[in-house]
Subunit: 445 residues, 2 copies
């Protein structure tokens, strides 16, 4: 049983008009908010934020809550070897894999109540709408809690959707350690969430994957729009730049006889910023940031002999990331030459640009239009949907968050914006269920 | 018994012609080099450098050697409460305090064979010349090994000349700890070098202090001159700059909606460099360096929210240091305003400009002329002479070092340059002894 093939071209899309069967179904804003508050009982912090690291006792408690809550709306559950939980509500055609509505319940150590949690809560709200209206969908639906999306306790991020999507092996992921040396596998066993279902698309498929997530950026907040349509995920490349100069005494070395690695690094930081703000890539959404710097020997009277930089380049198109990389590399080489420095420029991680499935995105687009929204965004950050898209049609809905702030206790989305996100998810998901119904019956002819 | 007053004006200087009694005395280059090699037996490293931290077993060994070596040339010894060793060779008038020829035998952990060691070795060479020629000087002479000049094990630098000169108390200095929590006092006792002589000018005065030291900068090497005349020490101020921006996701935050503390810091580094290379202070020898940087949260995909910088400003004149400070502060405030950053600019240490005693400097000038050198340098670095100058007439001789490199195993001064340094010290010291003889006899009249 395989997922339907990803549709190729938006131009060739079928009608995605919502069937009469699903007309009149809407989410309940107050209920959605109540579910969100319930999902934040365990691990909340006095400053209004959350601290719920993967597999701690609060994570166990919220997982128990998630299972008992979704049982109320007719779900049975699968827990896989990575602790990913699939709360499955049957449909009319249970030989199909379920359509997934997923995100994550773990948080950063100083995180907020919306990143990840809102996506799971919107999935539960969809279940509640179906349950309250006594609707049986065509395909089954699964609300999914992906384990360790943040990677805050067990790096890297998006670990367990990554296992499901084939990026990481189970052995690698279960062996990831926290700072105390505990492995994720041991901790999953400790809290009773190492399941027996194989953690893979092949053994435990979904038909598709929708995800609601806060934007974690300011575009919607500036535009005063509750939701946005996510077209895909930016191309991302990470680099480590090592700059070697010559240590020398700050007091005795004339200014014109220095090979100052930190002065060179400062020029590189400015050039990086100039390239993405003043050249052709700027209007195309190119971004480049140096956020990590380390220098040695950390002595106020010894000119820095060695500086390392972490460089993050992103753009909607892979070609623009390549262009920014090339411009940075050339600029850095010129700076190094002028200052008598040596430099290495090492690309240690790539994530190519990802375009979500056109049919899925169209479903989101039509559903978003019904809540008055049409802004289309390329996600700047990674999400579980990056890895589900490796296997199944995937799309995302972004929800406005105040000032674009995330990974911080001040992270906040208004109740009406959260409800708009749930409404867009409901509309998009039901359109896709309709689409599957039609595609399946056509296939039968 | 107090030191002679510091003379006010070079114009009023007495003749410093070397008396016939001292004519024909010269150092021996090979002997000076042999002494240097002997002084580097303990703590030498395979890369040609030195690792002799204060009060380690190698430091005890070289102290034992220093005492036994200087005994050969007629010295008796005083060891004070800070382990400073005074190897005193009597003169004709032993009611006068000795003229000091001092420097230090401790090194950086990855240091060289010349920084400090050469100064003590040149003092020993002077003793050898006097001894070999059976000369009894007018005043007694003391070769001094000051403890913990580097401050590498027990910060701060120049600690024990600082106690002698009244900058630090004995209790403070003896209580300084290394990284393992051992105090300098405990370690001095352990190696048998906590003496009973009070560590102070008042209780154990010198009449004056000469010091030979490698330049630790490139001026003499560029000019191809073996020695230089040190006029004094630059004005130095150290600052801590804290920059606060706003942490945000590198992938989701548009370039024009950032308060990037590291981008602001990079602009400050460039402005600092511009101020001392392109404004009026440049030809007057102003220097400013940011050599220390730290950023948080050290995550490649989170814009730096906080950056701290260490700023070192120097110039021969205090007024230029003030001017550079003012220009940096104004530039930093403008950068902070433009980027939405907040900044604090904290001056945590000052060392005002120091002009060495004109009579002493004239002695060095005349002696340097006899080895063909006339370059005058304001020292960019601190030395034990900074603190001796608080109490007694002080002057220094700089010796050329290859490429200006210091605090590194590659630190190197040629044998003939080291000998020229010793010759300049001998000539300057003997001129001052003559001067004291004449001044004392005049005073008696």
């Amino acid at each position: 049983m395989a997922a339907l093939p990803i549709t190729a071209e938006p131009a060739a899309l079928p009608s995605l008009q919502l069937s009469s069967k699903y007309a009149g179904l809407h989410v309940d804003a107050a209920r959605t908010n109540a579910t969100l508050q319930a999902a934040c009982v365990w691990g909340s912090t006095p400053d209004g934020g959350m601290n719920r690291l993967t597999c701690n006792d609060d994570d166990k408690s919220v997982r128990d809550w998630f299972i008992s809550e979704t049982k109320k709306y007719g779900c049975h559950h699968k827990v896989d070897e990575m602790g990913n939980i699939f709360a499955i509500r049957p449909g009319q055609n249970n030989s199909l894999p379920p359509i997934g509505l997923g995100s994550h319940l773990d948080t950063q150590p100083t995180g907020g109540k919306y990143d990840g949690i809102l996506g799971v809560v919107c999935g539960i709200e969809v279940l509640q709408v179906l349950h309250a209206n006594n609707v049986t969908t065509f395909a089954p639906v699964a609300v999914v809690n992906w384990t360790n999306e943040e990677g805050a306790r067990f790096p890297p991020a998006m670990l367990c959707s990554g296992v499901w999507g084939g990026e990481f092996t189970v052995a690698y992921a279960q062996g990831r350690q926290d700072l105390e040396g505990n492995t994720l596998g041991e901790e999953l066993k400790r809290i009773g969430y190492m399941g027996t279902t194989p953690a893979s698309y092949d053994a435990n498929p979904l038909l598709a994957h929708f995800e609601v997530h806060i934007e974690q950026g300011p575009i919607l907040d500036v535009a005063r729009k509750p939701v946005g349509i996510v077209r895909g995920v930016q191309s991302i490349r990470w680099y480590n730049v090592e700059i070697q100069g010559r240590e020398a005494h700050t007091g005795t070395t004339p200014m014109d006889r220095r090979s100052d690695a930190l002065l060179g690094a400062a020029k590189m930081i400015l050039e990086t910023n100039r390239i993405v703000t003043e050249t052709e890539v700027a209007p195309r959404g190119g971004r480049a940031t140096i956020a990590v710097i380390n220098s040695s020997p950390q002595s106020i009277n010894t000119i820095a002999g060695k500086v390392s930089l972490g460089l993050d380049i992103r753009a909607p198109a892979d070609s623009d990331v390549e262009l920014i990389e090339q411009q940075c590399r050339e600029a850095f080489e010129i700076i190094s030459y002028k200052h008598g420095l040596t430099m290495t420029f090492d690309n240690f991680w790539n994530s190519p640009a990802l375009a979500f499935d056109p049919t899925m995105v169209s479903c989101v687009r039509q559903a978003a239009a019904e809540v008055g929204c049409s802004i289309e965004i390329t996600s700047g950050a990674g999400h579980d949907s990056v890895y589900t898209s490796r296997k199944v049609p995937t799309a995302m809905v972004f929800v406005r968050c105040r000032d674009g702030v995330s990974h911080h206790p001040a992270e906040f989305s208004r109740e009406e914006d959260c409800a708009a996100g749930a409404e867009a998810l409901l509309g998009a998901y039901l359109r896709y269920d309709d689409y599957i119904r039609r595609a399946t019956s056509t296939a039968k002819i």
